[in-house]
């Protein structure tokens, strides 16, 4: 989980051009000024790394970075990645 969290954090930090320390589990996407395009780009980058497609219904209603990453990680566990 930590590895997945750190990777997602790195991807998003690079995308948004912010310091990686600015992104924590409780950080909201609003605080990061990340819109849905930023979020989908991060998800797509994770999909490329893990060779998986996250189901669309899993992706909405996660206001914080940590809540989204938890949900994505749970899906990875379910599909055995």
């Amino acid at each position: 989980m930590q590895e997945f969290f750190d990777l997602a954090r790195k991807i998003l930090a690079e995308q948004l051009e912010v310091e990686i320390e600015a992104i924590g589990a409780e950080t909201t996407f609003e605080a990061l000024e990340a819109d849905s395009i930023d979020i989908v780009e991060m998800i797509m980058a994770l999909e490329d790394v893990y060779q998986v497609e996250f189901p669309e219904e899993e992706l909405e209603d996660f206001p914080t970075f940590g809540s989204l990453i938890n949900a994505l990680y749970q899906y990875l566990q379910e599909v055995g990645k």
Partner: protein
Amino acid sequence: MGGDYAPGEVVAGALLWTGDSPDNHAILVGKQEIVEAEIARLQGAGLPGNSSQITIVNANEVIGCEESPAMALRRKKDASVVVATALVKEGQADAVLSCGSTGAQMAAAIFILGRMEGIERPPIVTSLPGEGGHQTLLIDVGANVDCKPAQLVQFALLGSAYASSVLGIGSPRVGLLNNGAEETKGNALAQQVYALLKEQAGINFIGNVEGRDLFLPNADIVVCDGFTGNILLKALEGLGLFFARSIMKEVEKPPAILASFDYSRVGGAPLLGVNGVSIVCHGSSRREAVANGLRIAGECVANGMVARQAEELAKSN
């Protein structure tokens, strides 16, 4: 096949456009049986146009304006804007035009066509009429409601690339829309953008431009965030209609200049900074606007807008 008056007016606009030239071919993307029925109805009512120059590609979903664009794009792979943009990506179409959700169209352009290097968010450009026939490009008029300072600099670079490569303007003058002329004027965004534009290589930055000066031949490009640009654009359109109606009460024939403010005559505006021609039309577009939007699309394709923009942009990166 989005838009307030879709599918009828969108189909009608496409039919009218086919009448311009036998080389014009429209691919209508939407629910096949509905589009077919509209073509039959419109032609039965005597609308000119050639249905043999129309192909229909079925798409069963539409992304609404109330939906989160990027998430909806992933969820609705059969949405007409997704299917239509993919046709351009695959080389089966030369351009995509939509009267539907601008956010969805931009997201489709980003994720399917791809962005040019150095561009975070593609803006919409439109041209404002001015004194002596001068045209001022206004960027962004609605693709990006909340902008970061660096994005407005990118708008300026894109506008400069578009103006020099497509419009043939050497060293186009770039202004920043603001509430005053002085360097220290404006909200936090404007002040930050001013500082960045001042230092940006490859841009002929002339400083702030106030709203009242937009119709003077002082700037070739004026940049602003999409929220401001969209409100400004629609206010100008409304003002044009107001003047037209007021003047019509007093004269027999409206002055020709009023036509400049009629958005249906322009039809559509291109998204800049993406690797394909994507024309954004007003949601309330009727057939004339759709037909004119298709004409704009044809011009963008014919003059190699994308390649020339990318080439010019690469010089400044």
